[in-house]
């Protein structure tokens, strides 16, 4: 658990963090801002849409595991599971279809640009 009320503790949510002083944003939990050192760290729930940076598929215990590295629209990079037809450059949206919840990224169709 990261100590946050997010998917790592069983809640279907992914939480980013933002600095109240310098507006830096990041994913990895920290008690202070890595950019300016401020203790004013606040949770930020992202909109859930982003652009795929990279994908891979590897064998796992329960079958193949597909992973995607995604740049969320909040300009924070996160790792999640994904589906077969997602490629680098694709727009994707976050969901939590599994129990326990893990972040999944599926293709966005018909998104207004």
């Amino acid at each position: 658990m990261t100590g946050a009320d997010d998917w790592t503790s069983g809640t279907p949510a992914l939480l980013l963090h933002t600095c109240a002083d310098c507006s830096a944003r990041w994913y990895v939990p920290r008690s202070r801002c890595p950019a300016c050192g401020s203790p004013g760290v606040r949770a930020l729930e992202p909109a859930g849409t982003g652009t795929t940076v990279a994908v891979t598929c590897l064998p796992g215990e329960g079958g193949e595991i597909r992973l995607a590295l995604v740049d969320l629209d909040e300009e924070v990079r996160v790792l999640g599971r994904t589906v077969a037809d997602v490629m680098p450059g694709d727009r994707v949206a976050l969901s939590f279809p599994t129990t326990p919840p893990q972040p999944w990224f599926e293709p966005v169709t018909g998104e207004e640009l």
């Binding site: 990895v28 891979t56 590897l58 790792l79 490629m87």
Partner: protein, 381 residues
């Protein structure tokens, strides 16, 4: 001036259950001391890299006791694949400061024979984020596969052009070294047809897991005429986890530039390269960020023979991690030992023609997380 590499040795790498981790360290340490013409009594500093099969709290004291060394300063070091070169950089600072005169830098591990492949994979996967990355099923090959996916996409490359030629070149070099783990020549097709590990990486895009050891002796003054001058060192540590890695600035350029600056040299002067190659994509990204290859061109440079022993930028002439093998910290030191061997003109059948004068050795640990670089000058450089 930052010091001298007065002795250097690497054992054969491969599957060899003859030693445990400390046994490999002992064999490499005695070989490096013999190469330097020094007795154990001359050693007053000991730096020893971590071994995943050992997990000991104080590996330098453990090895010092085994060798009968009573150093003035001794400690273990842990910065992933960069450990070997960060130890040498630290050793150079110890001799420059006067804290020690002769520092024995050692690594060795029974990584192949001392644990199962699954245990090894699980141990290494912990360089991912414990809560946010590892639970998703990510492994070290998966992290590098994601880098490979991003790399190929950004440059519009296919694996056969962008990655596979690097594996083929490393294997060609290993064929000339009797100590290499994998020596049978391979082709681009062999790489493409090898087992899928994590798309787009295939088995031959990945280094093997080996047993072995390596050691060097760093001294304040040359212990003999074969000593190679350590002219510059550099490091960069910009992130640990994949999600905080900057694809355009992992730290490699900063690290290599710092080492070249300290040496008062430019990259154009470098005529011998030793660059960490845990995966083909590791090598491609490092070569391009350091500036050896243009963006997206590392594979093409390999195909054109630029990294061949007889080419303009001889690279990993021992075969690198991809073919000489990878036993952990010592795997990243093998590039250094090879560079010392080449700069001395002692490469034998694999000696770079014309006698290289200036070597750049670079290693990374984690997910291109920790970077360390050394600039080495041979006689007459």
């Amino acid at each position: 001036m930052t010091g001298w590499i007065s002795g250097a040795a690497v054992t054969a790498f491969g599957r060899d259950p003859r030693h445990d981790a400390v046994g490999w360290q002992e064999e490499a340490a005695y070989a490096a001391l013999a190469d330097a013409g020094l007795d154990v009594a001359a050693v007053d500093g000991m730096l020893v890299g971590y071994a995943t099969t050992l997990g000991h709290l104080m590996p330098a004291d453990l090895l010092a006791q085994r060798l009968g060394v009573r150093p003035a300063v001794a400690f273990g070091v842990s910065s992933g694949g960069a450990t070997g070169l960060t130890m040498v950089a630290t050793a150079s600072q110890l001799v420059a400061s006067g804290a020690a005169e002769r520092v024995l830098v050692v690594a060795g591990e029974d990584r192949r024979s001392g644990q199962s492949t699954q245990t090894s994979t699980e141990a290494l996967a912990q360089v991912g984020h414990r809560e946010l990355e590892v639970p998703l099923g990510a492994t070290v090959p998966a992290y590098y596969a994601l880098l490979a996916s991003a790399y190929l996409h950004r440059h519009g490359l296919l694996p056969e052009k962008g990655l596979a030629p690097l594996a083929v070149q490393m294997r060609a070099h290993a064929g000339a070294h009797e100590g290499a783990h994998l020596r049978t020549p391979i082709t681009i097709d062999d790489v493409l047809q090898s087992r899928r590990v994590a798309d787009p990486l295939r088995l031959l895009d990945c280094c093997p897991v080996s047993d072995g050891g390596a050691a060097v002796v760093v001294t304040r003054t040359p212990a003999g005429p074969r000593a190679v001058r350590l002219a510059g060192t550099g490091q960069a540590h910009l992130h640990q986890h994949l999600c905080e890695l900057d694809l355009d600035d992992t730290g490699a350029r900063r690290s290599a530039a710092a080492a070249l600056d300290e040496a008062g040299r430019t990259l154009a002067e470098v005529d011998l390269l030793g660059v960490y190659d845990s995966f083909t994509v590791t090598l491609a990204m490092l070569l391009e960020e350091i500036g050896v290859s243009a963006p997206g061109q590392a594979g093409a440079d390999a195909s054109a023979g630029r990294f061949d022993r007889t080419g303009p930028r001889p690279l990993n002439t021992h075969g690198g991690l991809l073919s000489y093998g990878h036993c952990g910290v010592a795997g990243g030191m093998a590039h250094l030992v090879e560079a010392v061997t080449q700069l001395r003109g002692e490469g034998g059948v694999r000696q770079v023609p014309g006698g290289p004068r200036l070597g750049l050795v670079h290693a990374d640990g984690g997910i291109l997380s920790a970077h360390a670089s050394l600039v080495l000058e041979g006689a007459g450089a």
